[in-house]
Each structure stands twice: as structure tokens, then as C-alpha cells.
């Protein structure tokens, strides 16, 4: 007998060891349950991280754009409206009013990391007989590339764009039959017309984006779009991406701009994440519940099998609380050991799945995120579940009348 263990622990361990087969079967059950939870949680965390990474490396977290232009009804005097039908005015490409001042104020904010002014609008790319509609984005590379990592997606040439250069997607280059160093003619509805040299070709991993997106310097876009000295958006990144919505509201309240956070513009993504999390929570809860019922069932059987032992122990002066603890401890031990085995199972399955499951392009489906925290939480939760599941059997054991128990 171990000198350091109190009676309750000694008895609990011995009882579990004596019914080894039962113990192993229920341990297997708990391990599978915990394994499923660990596997699902880690995979979901990985998928989410991947989603967020993809979303955040290809778009700003907050965009500041000019306010919508609205037409006001013509009023003659108070209470009377002359022209009750108000038509929404067309939204011209407009510059943000006093954008330099707003940019400086944004840069001064502690929760904003990068501010990148861009001038964007639509245009037409022409080369020979081919022409394609494009989205022209004029930007300052040193700022903008901190937000949208175009250089990471370059497949030919480089991202160094000059005032006479343009970065185009692979799809657009194919459509125009152009390659690196070729010249294309870009015209806009505002009457701008420039011949630009393709200095880089990128692949954003999305056909639509590869077809439409083009990047030029801010000045080039300004002259093409007739926005001399103006910008259409200020793109921001923030320190805490989850606070983006609050920051956006704050900015909008204090500046004459419309601020859209990535949370707002990607509402669908968040709904999907939320739905996944809900179903994950449900599955976890039900797995936990079935594990708890399994532990309770095994311990109830154990109490019945050991009622004579319990009776004898009570006759020799064992207190009710001691008996209660013996069974609570058994529940806790089962939960804890089961979670250890389950964590190993879950992590193993995760590593296996991570190496097998690939995206179409061969890259990993989700990053392998195995946080020790997850295991600590699972172990703590499983131990707690075990103890809680043991309450009913333990009470039953503690309440056994020794006379009845010994008689059987």
C-alpha cells in the first residue's frame, strides 16, 4: 500500500483494478468520446484560422469610403414638400473629402496598424482586338502591400510597380494574350487613357479576381480616373481583428466617411463559423453526456457488485463520506485517464487527417494547431464529468444500509 495515499484513493484504485475489464471498457468509451472532441475542436480551430488568414491577407480589415450621396426632397416651407418623389442620385466616383487629414488621424490611432489610400474604379484593358473590363486599383505599394499581400501571389515578374507599370492577374493576361513586359492600353469612362507595361502577373487563387483585379500606382489611377489628388478608399488594418467592427463604428461616428469592417462585409463567413461552432458545441455536449452516462452506468454496476464490501467497510467503522469519496474518486480517475488516452487518440487522428486531407491545389486543408490548452481543458472537463457522473452511484453506495448490504 502506498504510504502517501489516503484510504479513499487506495480503495478507489483497487476497486478499479479489480474490475479491470469493466474499467478498460469504460476507459475505451471515454477515450473515444474525448478523442472525438479533441479532434473536432482542433480541426475546427485550424479551419477557422485558415479562413481568417485567407480573408485577412487579401482584404483590408476596415475600409473607409465616401458617404453616399443623397438627394433631399425640395421643401417650400416647414411641413410642405414640393417634390415628394426623390430619386436616388447616381454615385459618381468621388474622392474622400480631406482624405490626407483623415489618414493622418487614422495613423495616430493606437488600434490602427496600417493606413493605405487607394483610388479605384473600373476601366477597360485593350490589347489588339481583345478587351476586358477591369477593376483598376491605384495604391501606394509600401502601404497597400501590408494589407493585401500581392507580392505573395506574384507568379511572374515582381510587385514593384512604377507609374508606367501595371500588375495583372493570370486570367487577364491569358485573355489579352499578354505576358510579362507586354504593353496594354487602359481606358476609363472618365476619359483617361494610358499605355501601361505589365511588370508583374499574380494568381490570387480565384478566377474572378485574376480576371478583374489590376494594380497600378496611386498617381496613375488618379489620372486615369480623373481624381487628381483624390482617393476613393482608405484601407486600414487594426491590431485586434475582432475589434474591427467597434473601431469602424467609432471612426464613422467621428469622421465624414462610411467605415465598413471585414466583420460586416463578411457576415456570411461569420454566420458559417457560428453555425459550425454551435454544432460543435452540441456534439461536444452530447458526447460528454454519453460519456457521463457510461461512467455512471459502470459505477452503478460496481456499487451493486460491491455492496457486500461496502457493508463490511461500514460495519468496521467506515463513514458514509468515506464511501462517497471512494466512488467519486473512481469517477474522477476514469474521466482523467480516459481523457489522457482520448487526447492521444484525437491528436493522432488529427495528424493523420492533416497529412491525408489536402486541398485541390495540394496545400493543407487546415493548419495543424495542437494547443496544449485544449488537452488541459479536456482533461479537466473529463475529470469533472467523471466526478459528476459518479455522484448518483456514490450516493447510492454511501446510503447502503450495512445490514441489508451484508445480507445481500
Amino acid at each position: 500500500m502506498n504510504r502517501w495515499l489516503p484510504f479513499e484513493w487506495i480503495a478507489a484504485v483497487r476497486f478499479l483494478l479489480e474490475g479491470l475489464l469493466q474499467t478498460l471498457v469504460i476507459l475505451g468509451g471515454i477515450a473515444i468520446g474525448v478523442g472525438v472532441i479533441v479532434f473536432m475542436s482542433a480541426m475546427l480551430a485550424g479551419l477557422q484560422a485558415n479562413f481568417i488568414k485567407r480573408v485577412l491577407t487579401s482584404q483590408p480589415q476596415i475600409q473607409l469610403i465616401p458617404l453616399d450621396q443623397v438627394a433631399r426632397p425640395l421643401r417650400n416651407a416647414k411641413g410642405t414638400i414640393e417634390a415628394p418623389i426623390v430619386q436616388r442620385p447616381t454615385q459618381r466616383v468621388l474622392s474622400i473629402d480631406q482624405w490626407q487629414k483623415i489618414r493622418d488621424e487614422m495613423q495616430a490611432r493606437p488600434d490602427v496598424v496600417t493606413v493605405a489610400p487607394t483610388a479605384s474604379g473600373s476601366g477597360l484593358a485593350l490589347r489588339g482586338d481583345a478587351n476586358r473590363a477591369i477593376t483598376l486599383t491605384g495604391m501606394e505599394p509600401e502601404n497597400y502591400f501590408n494589407i493585401v499581400r500581392v507580392p505573395d501571389y506574384i507568379v511572374a515578374g515582381d510587385a514593384q510597380v512604377t507609374s508606367e507599370g501595371i500588375l495583372v492577374g493570370t486570367e487577364l493576361a491569358n485573355n489579352l494574350g499578354a505576358s510579362l513586359g507586354d504593353k496594354i492600353n487602359v481606358t476609363t469612362a472618365q476619359g483617361g487613357n494610358r499605355i501601361l507595361t505589365i511588370t508583374g502577373i499574380f494568381d490570387l487563387g480565384n478566377k474572378g479576381a485574376n480576371q478583374r483585379s489590376t494594380f497600378v500606382t496611386l498617381r496613375t489611377a488618379q489620372s486615369l480616373l480623373g481624381l487628381i489628388g483624390g482617393v476613393t478608399t482608405l484601407d486600414l488594418t487594426v491590431t485586434d481583428i475582432y475589434a474591427a467592427e467597434n473601431i469602424a463604428r467609432d471612426i464613422q461616428a467621428s469622421h465624414p466617411v462610411e467605415a465598413d469592417s471585414w466583420i460586416k462585409t463578411n457576415a456570411q463567413f461569420f454566420t458559417a463559423v457560428q453555425a459550425q461552432q454551435n454544432s460543435n458545441t452540441l456534439i461536444r455536449a452530447f458526447v460528454g453526456l454519453s460519456v457521463a452516462f457510461g461512467i455512471a452506468a459502470v459505477l452503478i454496476v460496481s456499487v451493486i457488485q460491491r455492496s457486500k464490501d461496502i457493508g463490511i467497510l461500514r460495519a468496521m467503522g467506515t463513514k458514509r463520506e468515506q464511501i462517497l469519496r471512494v466512488f467519486l474518486i473512481q469517477g474522477g480517475i476514469l474521466g482523467f485517464l480516459g481523457s489522457l488516452v482520448g487526447s492521444v487518440l484525437g491528436a493522432g487522428a488529427l495528424i493523420l487527417w492533416h497529412s491525408v486531407a489536402r486541398q485541390v491545389d495540394g496545400s493543407e486543408l487546415f493548419p495543424l494547431i495542437i494547443e496544449s490548452q485544449l488537452f488541459v481543458y479536456s482533461a479537466a472537463l473529463a475529470t469533472l464529468t467523471g466526478v459528476i457522473a459518479a455522484i448518483a452511484p456514490a450516493l447510492r453506495a454511501a446510503r447502503l444500509d450495512p445490514v441489508v448490504a451484508i445480507r445481500g
Binding site: M316, G317, T318
Partner: protein
């Protein structure tokens, strides 16, 4: 000589207050002095097991007084009774009832372990001394289930003595054994009674063994017929 046990008008009824209320003990008076070796006899259903359970503080009488070492047990709560039971009473049951998850040595240690909470060297030593006394030192580390009935019963005797109780209650301790083993077990209890002055109350159906006790008390239909 000190009075270890005193029963005054002990009555026990089952299904109290219902239509099928049955009184199984009708006012038992009994007294045992320290060092007594008493045989309790009586046919099945006479109420001797109920009486033994009440004396063993496993059950409470419906009325009457039960004194152990001159202490009235009627006013004690459940926890105090459990404590008193652990300290002053040792049990030997008909079917040995060793705890199968433990060895013979650990079974003998068990009452001390339950009382003190942690195992210590002293209780291990005492268990060895007791096992030696019942002649089972060699079987020390055997699992309780790998022993013969007679051996198990001798371990149970050692266990009953672990807390050095004033009173040992034995419920047909030889009832399940062959004559030779039964004799050996009885003689062991008798020797311990003489050596240590431990008081024994023995329920038995065996006339031969009963005759070798100091006193015989007959329970007939819930009353004593001495």
C-alpha cells in the same frame, strides 16, 4: 469486572405504524461482562440476527436502552455510532467477507486504515502480528479470494481484532466450515478470549461449540430463554 454490554428492554418492530407491523424482539434484557464468551442460540427467524445487528450498532432498537461500556447509544447520531462501532466492536461474519480487492494483510489493516485515513508502518506491523497470531503469516500477500474458507475466517478474526475491540460479534463464524476447520476457528477465538480478555458474542447453531462457551443464551420467538 466491567460491564461491556447492557441491554434493557430492547424491542424491535418492523413496518412500524402500518397494518403489517411486526414485533420481532419483545423486550430483551442482557448483560455481558468484560471477558465473557457467550453463545447466542435459537432457531432461524427467532430474531437473533436482528439482535446481533442492534448490538453491533448496525440497526437501532424501536425502544429500550443499549449501553456499550456504560455509554447509552440511544442518543448518538449516525456518525457517532459509526465511530463507536469502529472503535469498540469487531465483526466476524458467516461468509468471511474479506474484501476481495485486497490481500490478507491489507484486509487486517483495513479497520485501522479506515480509522486513521492513511496507511502507516505501525498498522502494517500490527496487522503482521495479528496474522502471525492466527497462523497465517505465510499467506500475508495472498489475495483474500485465494484462500480456503477456514483461512479466510482466521483472517476475518485477525481483522476483527485489529482495533483492539472490547466486544467481538461473530455471526455463525463456523457455519460455513467443515468440522475440523470449524473447531480450529472456534479454538482460536477461545484462546484470544483467554489471552486478551476480549468479550465474544457468538451466534451459532452448533450445540457442541455452544457447550464449550461460558454461557448460552437462547432466543425463542423474540424473547430470551436462558
Amino acid at each position: 469486572m466491567a460491564e461491556v454490554l447492557k441491554l434493557e428492554q430492547i424491542k424491535k418492530s418492523y413496518n412500524l405504524g402500518t397494518a403489517v407491523e411486526t414485533e420481532v424482539l419483545h423486550g430483551i434484557d442482557l448483560s455481558m461482562q468484560s471477558g465473557d464468551f457467550l453463545a447466542l442460540m435459537g432457531p432461524s427467524g427467532s430474531g437473533k440476527s436482528t439482535l446481533l445487528n442492534i448490538i453491533g450498532l448496525l440497526d437501532r432498537p424501536t425502544s429500550g436502552r443499549l449501553l456499550i461500556n456504560a455509554q447509552d447509544t440511544g442518543r448518538l447520531g449516525d456518525a457517532a455510532l459509526t465511530r463507536l462501532r469502529g472503535e469498540t466492536i469487531g465483526f466476524i461474519f458467516q461468509y468471511h467477507y474479506l474484501i476481495s480487492a485486497f490481500t490478507a494483510h491489507e484486509n487486517v489493516m483495513m479497520p485501522m486504515l479506515v480509522d486513521r485515513g492513511h496507511p502507516d508502518a505501525e498498522m502494517a506491523k500490527r496487522a503482521d502480528v495479528l496474522l502471525e497470531r492466527v497462523g497465517l503469516s505465510r499467506w500475508r500477500n495472498n489475495n483474500a479470494m485465494n484462500m480456503s474458507g477456514g483461512q479466510q475466517q482466521r483472517v476475518a478474526i485477525a481483522r476483527a481484532l485489529a482495533m483492539n475491540p472490547d466486544l467481538v460479534l461473530a455471526d455463525e463464524p463456523t457455519g460455513n466450515l467443515d468440522t475440523k476447520s470449524a473447531n480450529a476457528v472456534f479454538e482460536l477465538m477461545r484462546e484470544i478470549n483467554r489471552e486478551r480478555g476480549t468479550t465474544f458474542l457468538l451466534v451459532t447453531h452448533n450445540d457442541d461449540l455452544a457447550k464449550r462457551c461460558d454461557r448460552i443464551v437462547q432466543v425463542v420467538d423474540g424473547s430470551l430463554a436462558t
